[in-house]
Amino acid sequence: MAPVDITIGRRPSLDGALLGDTDPATQGGYPDHPPRMGFFTDTSVCIGCKACEVACKEWNAIPEDGLLFTGMSMDNSQGLGADTWRHVAFIEQRKPIAAQDPGVAHEGVDVTPLARQGSGTAAGQAAVTPTTPGDAGEFRWLMASDVCKHCTHAACLDVCPTGSLFRTEFGTVVVQEDICNGCGYCIPACPYGVIDQREGDGRAWKCTLCYDRLSVGQEPACAKSCPTNSIQFGPLDELRERADARLARLHEAGVIDARLYGRDPHDGVGGDGAFFLLLDEPEVYGLPPDPVVTTRDLPSMAKHVAAAAATLIGGALAAFAVGRWVS
């Protein structure tokens, strides 16, 4: 892993760097690069097993950061941070969920003819199969594995003063730990609350989308370990297509709450490299409903700073102009 320092002088234009739909790897100075890779996390099939959390910690050798019991449903890791790069959220709601009743009540079923068929009841004939939708219940449990979004316009990367955070050839955002000096600027810059400072270490850490594994053609540890394919890894274009199809199917099946989050390349961060299918509003999962990359306003900020600096000069000139009379 020897990333080229791409910070000086390679950006086509600042405007393209801060706004809109763009190819981040090209923007980052890789004229010839592999397709942009990412995650599509389909929370509708997440079972909350936390295999992703464990696989991530194991593969990336992330230190233990406290074993807590929070009482927040089954969530004991609370949120993304320096030592939690995959976080499974658990939400308990008094809302019906479609098609997840196991249908274990067999009252109306005459088992004798079924028994005669032996163990191999054809799916069409069985009154109850694991996929038969039952009546909608009054309780649902949402589970969602959160991760760094690898934004098209990444605030953490924009504000990093050392060049420690950089854009990889896969369009992902990675911290170089031998460069980071722990200034902490990236931490409040992230609109999602992903990156954080590791205690006792001082540097900032976050998901690398397993840059090391990608570099040798392997998929990230979390996606590899996900037993239900809730975490899907691949070229972003392909994932977006797959997600659109999945959303259409869910809507067809009556799951009207389903929506994609971070899929739109024209949103406040230019679209996420890691996006999600959610079953409720983003804030229910602890995600911001309308995140915006903070540097989008930087040109305007610069103008205001210049105006204020000019005001200060004007004030000083005026002070010396009247200074003789106010001693």
Binding site: D5, G193, L312
Partner: protein, 346 residues
């Protein structure tokens, strides 16, 4: 009695009226009586008049963004000292041109001392202070901290030369050139820190970005004026007095405008620790202003008003710092304005 039984007993008591404090078991409603919300209610009961609670959804009331890891006094001190230094460099240069040597000495020495201390604060706050020089590894216009690091590394040595020449009387030409150069960089030093904190997802900082640089230069001018009033004889402190009045006026007016414009995200500037510092800053700056205006001709009143202005500038920066942290820690400041934004687009 086993530990387990003890734990059970402490959570429920058998009384004449039956069990008290008993866990509701299967009757429990999800999401009710989790620690955080209970605490929130308790705070509201104790607190001042409660505004009707805005309804919004969050994940267990946890913050959406990660709070700044910057610590006090390093970072608020860095904001305060940068403002003081930048504005003092202007006073120093003006004093040189208008032949006010005492004002020049105090302002140039003050700018150098404040500049060095602000650098110390910045380096001390790093997670890896030994890697400070990594700040100068690249130059990035998208990072106010990168621009600021380069700015400070040019500015602070210049103020050092200006101060040394002014205090020793040696190398007057070099001193004059350094004074002029530091006065050119000074306004940028006093204002860039506003962009630095605004260029984050912290609601109270980001939303206030149009006015924040004016608050910062105003606060810096008040501090530099205050330093002049505190340490310069009356015969030469006129410009410092005018600078202080200009500073307080700019700071208070811009702050007020910012609070009115940004609405809900301005709440932390009036509440909690941040609010207390902001209020203290306001009171001190009004005292300082009154002393500066009414105390003309009185050395003691002038010096006291100078001290009050320095303290007010510091209090305001501490207030802005803590208010930002408060706004980051409460998910409502992140979620509600974003929801409103979505509603506005529809």
């Amino acid at each position: 009695m086993t530990e387990f039984q003890q734990a059970r007993r402490s959570s429920s008591d058998v009384t004449k009226d039956g069990l008290r404090g008993q866990r509701p078991d299967r009757d429990a409603l999800t999401g009710v009586a989790t620690g955080k919300r209970a605490k929130l209610r308790a705070r509201q009961r104790d607190g001042a008049p409660t505004v009707p609670e805005v309804t919004f959804t969050s994940y267990y009331n946890l913050p959406v963004i990660n709070s700044p890891v910057w610590s006090s006094p390093d970072i608020p001190g860095y904001l305060f000292l940068g403002g003081l230094a930048g504005a003092a460099s202007l006073l120093g240069a003006g004093a040189q041109v208008t032949r006010r040597p005492a004002l020049g000495r105090v302002s140039k020495a003050g700018a150098f001392a404040a500049g060095v201390l602000s650098l110390v604060g910045l380096v001390h706050d790093l997670g890896r202070p030994a890697r400070f020089l990594h700040m100068l590894r690249v130059f990035k216009v998208t990072s106010p901290m990168s621009v600021g690091s380069w700015l400070l590394s040019g500015y602070v040595p210049l103020t050092g030369i200006a101060a040394a020449s002014s205090l020793s009387g040696r190398a007057p030409k070099v001193g004059a050139a350094a004074t002029a150069a530091s006065a050119l960089l000074g306004p940028a030093v006093a204002s860039y820190t506003a962009a630095l904190i605004s260029d984050t997802a912290v609601p109270a900082w980001h939303d206030g970005y149009p006015e924040m640089p004016f608050v910062f230069v105003g606060s810096g001018a008040a501090a530099a004026g205050g330093l002049g009033l505190l340490a310069v004889p009356l015969t030469q402190s006129g410009p410092a007095r005018a600078m202080a009045v200009f500073g307080v006026g700019t700071e208070l007016a811009s702050f007020e405008r910012m609070k009115r414009r940004i609405g809900m995200t301005a709440e932390p500037y009036s509440e909690g620790r941040g609010g207390a510092y902001v209020r203290a800053g306001k009171v001190l700056s009004l005292f300082g202003l009154a002393g500066a205006v009414l105390g003309r001709g009185n050395r003691v009143v002038t010096a006291l008003s100078g001290a009050a202005l320095l303290a007010s500038s510091a209090a305001t920066r501490w207030g802005i710092f803590h208010a930002g942290v408060q706004s980051a820690n409460d998910p409502k400041y992140t979620i509600i304005p974003q929801r409103e934004r979505i509603k506005g687009r529809r």
